[in-house]
Assembly symmetry: D2
């Protein structure tokens, strides 16, 4: 069972979340591929490489991630999303598990809108969207976390994600891996 974590990160904080999620995947004894979108893969605003699509073709689940820029997914990652239209025509990703994560510099910086977009992207592909289970200690430390449930949504005003965010992100990765694993055992 293999999970692709495909993401764009400019300042590195989203990359840190991607790594935490991957650790969560690994904890469930699953493999992962960290697929980082880079500027060189984008020519004239279009994502031009086929490599990541081929990797995801062979994965059971895919986790989308990028920072929230101006109330939505970073354009660099959207370029990758648009590229996945190559897999839309024959719905070849249908039935895979999908999930998402994002990071913003403001608690109300519209991170939900980015997660909603990822959920729509998954819908276009006929995927199964894995939501986040609420951390059981939801009454505590209310100021330090967003508690979004459509995916992982972080607030990172600085350069490093918090220990708490590492834990919550890893839990989300484990969750995706867990469902994909149980399900793929049957198919």
């Amino acid at each position: 069972m293999t999970v692709a974590v495909v993401y764009f990160s400019e300042k590195d904080t989203t990359h840190q979340v991607a790594e935490a999620i991957s650790e969560g995947v690994e904890k469930m004894s699953c493999q992962y591929h960290l697929l980082r979108v880079t500027g060189e893969q984008i020519v004239d605003g279009r994502f031009v490489s086929d490599e990541y699509l081929h990797t995801i073709d062979r994965c059971d689940a895919v986790i989308f991630g990028c920072p929230t820029y101006m109330g939505g997914p970073a354009a660099q990652f959207k370029a990758f999303c648009d590229k996945t239209s190559d897999r839309w025509d024959d719905q070849s990703w249908s039935g895979k598990f999908a999930a998402g994560f994002t990071v913003g510099s403001n608690p109300g910086g519209d991170q939900l809108a980015t997660l909603q977009y990822f959920a729509i992207l998954a819908a276009q592909h006929g995927m199964l969207w894995v939501n986040h289970e609420m951390p059981s200690d939801h009454e505590e430390n209310i100021e330090n976390k967003l508690n979004a449930q459509m995916g992982f949504a972080g607030v990172v005003p600085g350069d490093t994600i918090s220990k708490r965010d590492v834990t919550v992100a890893a839990r989300h990765g484990s969750r995706v891996a867990l469902f994909s694993k149980r399900y793929s055992a049957l198919t």
Copy 2:
């Protein structure tokens, strides 16, 4: 394996979709419960009955449905959604499969917004959202259907849903049943 179809229907068209979806569930040799929200269950704007929650507790999947009124879910159904907060605290519906359907009288009547709300509701419960696979004949009859993929979205200006809508809705029901079935075989 049992699927709950919980819905509100005023004019009966949404009820027809609910029935078509249930037939799709049955076609996969799964059981279903048709749970129709009625005005009497709502007192002072709040849904007061516990019965449907108890039924859903015992189901593997739940499909939410209602007409789109003024760009969102009908208030009567939203009253039921708010009632499900009784299952939010302990996240006891976490891991169940969920899906949605809606009907509007206009092709651009914001049906997507209702499906997006259902997806958020599923997120709050930590459920797995089942998206719709694109009908394979997606090039044909483009004027007669919406082809939404986050769930079933119908356009019913009149009193009866079209034959095509019955087929597409049934396919969505079958799809939810199929995933729930494969998955529940393991747990």
Copy 3:
């Protein structure tokens, strides 16, 4: 120039925001109507009174507000929204200014989704949506506020809204009043 503040509040925190917004309206030398949705106005899940619609008919702007329940507007308030379909057919509210506010008990409790719904409701009526200008001190106290811009979004785990929330909400009310006032001077 008159602004209607129509809202539902269960625990009273949303009511406190409504009052703060109204004070902001008054500060711009404008009048306001505080229209609180109550359970008695809702029979069998439908909002039955015409009074608020008549009041809004005579206002230049309307500000919608309610708590976020299960990731969307409280059903009680949605019942009022559905009732406004009486003004949709002839688009008689077209051109009025509109804005929104919501309160949740969690920073990532999907408050944005409620504001998005209010924006769609305004769209259905052909209204002009007034967004929130970012507080100028946006670098400070980042943990204590959401900084949403589609409207006022508060986090109120307890019984009373913070002093900061009172200030930000009042600013939103003043902003709506300001635009309505300038505009209505011409028509």
Copy 4:
């Protein structure tokens, strides 16, 4: 009074809508700037030119437009949107009027999601969002149009937008011009 129509168009259908909207602006005796985003302005996935921002600085209103790709705004246009963060810090576009349009090849191709994104972008800038008034003949030809109200949403399976779409798009342009004009007369 000047309106900027900033958009991306690949196949030319979105360009046709942009032109129709501009004609609507002109009909109200207002000026317009057609600002078309091109691939060369995007380097490594980022929009690098400042020219359009400077033009919009001097406009009273801005209308955003692009095709809907994979359930959201085309990445090329999102690159421009991200670039506007240069005007977010000091909220210098606050109070301008804004509106949006999109085109998809499917009636249920999630065009609403693109319009919702544009509305969020406008929110981040503290702009006033101009919604679409429902065409008065809303009962007719229901199969041929979407009747979205958050902006103009077209369905163009082929190469040319319909005569009806030209009319509806022009009406939206006129509407934005009309509000901006009345308002700017005062400031």
